[in-house]
């Protein structure tokens, strides 16, 4: 607990706010990604953001914008490639996953001073102290935007989440909404990478949403509980990180995995009779 006594109150508040917002927005997006069976998209985006950040640092330019560029690039490659080629999205993601990881590790070697500087490490594993009030503001705007988009286009997302072909048959143009989900995932990953780190941010996208899916048959409830689980698991991860001085990304991944395990055990969907 010693780290808490050292940190100023303002830093603690900013960290907790950033954690809650990143947890909420990643898990909200995760509700769509898990339902679309695109969990590999989480891995791929996070490694793309990691590669982008590493490139930014190697060039001594702002890593966030490079992370954003790389994640969005994955979204723009994946959408049309899935629609136009006869390849499953998982196959394309598998290839992009290894490519972005390889690029990230290569760029790390070009970071000035030391290849494994503290900044590079924070990109990989996340950093509690790396969050600034500007990051919190960005995450607030992003969370608000994502919620607003979901409310405005709830009908369209709802129908697509059930079945894309049936949504198309009922007169909904599904392509823009499918691409919008990919695009929002890219932005969300890039804005949250500072906290959780590029290697494990997908845990915050996949685990809370997968946990929410264990309890409900109503997609609306999943959209409400997924971010709540995201906040809970992120805060749990932060506490673990404070207590044991673990990297924050690892702590969140551990807590959210335990949370998922408990959800599976408690899931009414899996009870017989």
């Amino acid at each position: 607990m010693s780290i808490l006594t050292i940190l100023p109150l303002k830093t603690i508040i900013i960290t907790l706010l950033g954690t809650c917002l990143a947890g909420a927005v990643c898990s909200l997006i995760g509700a769509f990604i898990v339902r679309m069976k695109l969990t590999s998209l989480g891995f791929c985006m996070s490694h793309a953001a990691f590669a982008g950040s590493a490139l930014g640092l190697a060039l001594s330019l702002p890593p966030l914008w490079f992370a954003l560029g790389f994640s969005i690039l994955v979204a723009f490659i994946l959408g049309p490639l899935t629609d136009k080629s006869r390849l499953q999205p998982e196959v394309i993601l598998g290839i992009l996953f290894s490519l972005t990881m390889a690029l990230g590790l290569t760029f790390l070697n070009f970071i000035p001073d030391s290849a494994m500087s503290s900044t590079a490490m924070s990109i990989l594993w996340g950093s509690i102290l790396g969050i600034t009030s500007i990051d919190v503001l960005r995450l607030s705007v992003l969370t608000f935007t994502v919620i607003l988009i979901i409310i405005l286009f709830f009908k369209e997302f709802h129908a697509i989440m059930f079945n894309r072909k049936m949504a198309e048959a009922s007169g909904i143009s599904t392509k823009p909404f499918y691409y919008l989900i990919l695009f929002l995932t890219g932005i969300t990953v890039a804005f949250s990478i500072k906290l959780v780190g590029g290697l494990l941010i997908f845990a915050l996208i996949v685990n809370p949403a997968s946990s929410a899916y264990q309890f409900f048959y109503d997609f609306k409830k999943i959209l409400i509980f997924s971010p709540l689980f995201g906040i809970l698991f992120s805060l749990g991860g932060i506490v673990l990180s404070f207590l044991l001085d673990f990297p924050v990304g690892s702590s969140i991944a551990i807590i959210s995995s335990i949370g998922f395990g408990i959800s599976v055990m408690l899931s009414p969907k899996r009870k017989k009779g």
Binding site: S173, Y217, F219
Partner: protein, 244 residues
């Protein structure tokens, strides 16, 4: 009587991506408003492809399709708001996070339109459709927990809630027992009768031909081999082949 052509297909071919042989080959077909057309043929004849090409879910590679006078390629999204489609043997995973009422209401989403709220009338139409299909008790049931027959009825309730101008049904009796098939066939006939609803229905079992069917199209290898009134298409030879 002045008849309005609601579906016009002119020399339409459809080839699936990566395939060399077309699944539909130069089909020309006209359907008048209010007709009840059944499409029959062996497996792989192109029956489902025909329905999905007509509503634009599958892009055609040659020819022209006009629905209600408009090109399906240019006005696909708008036209699909007017077409009710029940797909063949629709399956849902058992943990699917949707309730029956959601699935039926989704049928109306295209009609409601972008940025518009779901109204009380939409919910009433959902309730009415569930009642018409006799499945009101399933309203709050998870969709993944239904039997094949119940799911089929939900999918029909979904198109009924949509209040379409044209109805496409792809083997709607495939998961139903004999008794339910009879009841659902009667329901489809009454939809047609009461609303003058142009209906195209893909059939496999010729014994469950709805009483309202006034025309049969027999497809084989992506081509129309016969298109006439039921009495002329359903020859003894054909019925014998179908029974085998």
């Amino acid at each position: 009587m002045n008849q309005v052509k609601i579906i016009e297909m002119n020399k339409v071919s459809t080839i699936y991506e990566g395939e060399k042989t077309p699944s539909l080959l130069g089909i020309s077909l006209y359907v008048n408003q209010g007709e009840f057309v059944c499409i029959i043929g062996p497996n792989g004849a192109g029956k489902t492809t025909l329905l999905e090409t007509l509503n634009g879910l599958l892009p055609h590679t040659e020819g022209q399709i006009r629905i209600m006078g408009q090109d399906i390629r240019e006005r696909g999204i708008f036209l699909r708001k007017k077409i009710g489609y029940v797909p063949q043997e629709f399956t849902v995973d058992s943990l699917s996070p949707f309730l029956v009422k959601d699935i039926v209401l989704m049928g109306r989403y295209g009609q409601i339109g972008l940025l518009k709220n779901i109204s009380r009338n939409d919910h009433l139409l959902v309730d009415n459709s569930l009642k018409v299909m006799g499945i009101e008790e399933l309203k709050y049931r998870p969709i993944g927990k239904l039997s094949g027959g119940q799911l089929q009825k939900v999918m029909i309730a979904r198109v009924w809630a949509k209040k379409p101008t044209i109805l496409f049904l792809d083997e709607p009796f495939s998961n139903l027992d004999y008794h339910t098939t009879y009841k659902v066939a009667r329901k489809i006939s009454s939809f047609h009768e009461e609303n003058h609803l142009t209906t195209l229905m893909v059939m496999h079992d010729l014994n469950s031909l709805p009483e309202r069917c006034n025309r049969i199209i027999h497809l084989e290898e992506g081509k129309i081999v016969k298109d006439d009134i039921p009495e002329k298409v359903l020859t003894e030879d054909l019925l014998e082949t179908a029974a085998r």
